[in-house]
Structures are given as C-alpha cells and as structure tokens.
Symmetry: C2
Subunit: 147 residues, 2 copies
C-alpha cells in the first residue's frame, strides 16, 4: 500500500496526448453519466465522435464535461488517473474537415453512421498516482504497439 500522489500538469498532458481510450463524464438532466470513448487530441482539445441523439450529442455542448483516463496494474495494486476538465463543444463542420485532413481522428472501434464530433478544450488537467518507481506510460496502448 502506498500514498496517493498528485501528478504535475506536464505529466498529465503527456499521458493524455498518448492515450486513445477514456471516459467522458457529464451531467444529463441533473444525473451523472459516463460514456466510454476513443479519443484523439487536437491542439489543446480532446476530440471524440458520437451519434446524433446520443448523450454526448444532447448534453455535452456548452456544458461542463470531463475526460478521464487511467491505467491500473491489478497485480501490484497501483495505478494512475488523469482528468481533463472543460466544456463540451460541438465541432463545426468547417473546423472538423480541417482537423480530419491533419489527423486520423480517434481510433474507430465501433461501426457508426452519421457522426457528430464533440471537442473538450481542457481548462484544467489533474492527475493522481499510487506507488512510485514505475513508468506511468507503460500501460498506454501507443507504447505497446511501438509508436
């Protein structure tokens, strides 16, 4: 068992930019909701895809939302978590096309039609870890596939 330690902003940003999977958390009708997503970063924003009429499409635009990513090593009983907080924003068509030309976008794990893109420009990055003496990025997929 170890203490909980804060991660500095640079470390949070490094982990956020290297990850591809996380969870968007938002408030829908006064209730908490969570949506697992694949994401990409574009500038200082997280971009995700969603379907028209989804929770993200209906409740994220202009509202406080966050993205959480984490990695846990069950055998050793330690892990880390990073949270990017900001407001959700529906990506306008023009800006989206521009970004699509420059990035590959979030990984596509799910077949989906008629996509809506939501961005979260982060206003605050916070993170915590338990344990020390291990590489926090080791659990991220981009490391595992050698990128």
């Amino acid at each position: 068992m170890s203490a909980l330690e804060e991660l500095d902003v640079a470390e949070c940003e490094r982990l956020l930019r290297r990850g591809v999977f996380g969870r968007i958390v938002l408030v829908a009708g006064g209730r908490p909701e969570i949506v697992p997503v694949t994401y990409t970063t574009h500038g200082d924003a997280v971009w995700v895809r969603t379907s028209p009429g989804s929770l993200l499409d209906r409740y994220a635009d202009g509202e406080p939302v966050l993205l959480e990513i984490d990695h846990v090593d069950h055998e050793r009983g330690h892990g880390w978590s990073v949270v990017a907080r900001g407001h959700g924003e529906r990506v306008p068509e023009g800006e989206r096309s521009d970004a699509e030309r420059r990035t590959s976008g979030p990984p596509r794990w799910v077949r989906r039609e008629d996509e809506v893109w939501i961005q979260l420009r982060w206003e605050e990055l916070t993170g915590r870890r338990t344990g020390s003496g291990w590489d926090l990025a080791a659990g991220l997929p981009v490391d595992r596939i050698g990128r």
Copy 2:
C-alpha cells in the same frame, strides 16, 4: 470494427461482482466528477471507502451516483463497459461493522486514515460490448490471480 451490443443484466451483474476497480461518477455543485475506486459488492450494493471531506463523502450521500467498470483490449480494438446506477448512501457504523466481519472489503491500494464507507445499492445495471467471440471476464483481475 464491430457493432456495439448491449449486455444483459445477468452478464452485467457477473462482471460487476467479479471486478475490484472502477470509477464512481457523481454531480458536485452542478459539475460532473469522477473518482477512481477499489470496490467490493455486498448484497446488491457496491461498497467503497473514502476519506472524510472527500468528494464522495460530501456529494454522494442521497444523490444519484454510478459506478462504471470496463475492460479494453487495445490491440484488438474492443472492450466492454458496465454501469451500476443508484443513489449513494453513507454506511452507518453498525451495518459497516457487520459487513466488515463478513467480507474483506475493497482492496486497499492507498494508505488512508479515518475512513468513511459509501454504498451504492444498484437500481439499474447496463452494459455494452464491442466485438464478439471473446471472454468478457478474461480481463478482470480476479481471473488473473486465479480466484
């Protein structure tokens, strides 16, 4: 790429009861918040520990909260997620002692003093998966350590 499929309640419950790590999501002052936790199930409730004055201690009692667990296989680009929705409830001292005698409680990954226990009696269990032909429980720690 595959379609997103709903998990039935029995499968959600099976995964929930076998997991030990998840994320509590709640609303704090109108804003969404997420708290990574280790948990245990006790009857039809999720039990977690927290510290006095924490987000969970201040904002979960009597309010709508959820626990989300998931597992992702980055190489194959698939995964599952289960969400238990209900209301948070501070566990009374007497009930807590009783449960402590009968269960080992959530795994302790973090050193903490003066604990508060919060329970979430689930009112709704939902889950989703991508892909098929793989064992959803294979990513859970209780399998990996042979329990």
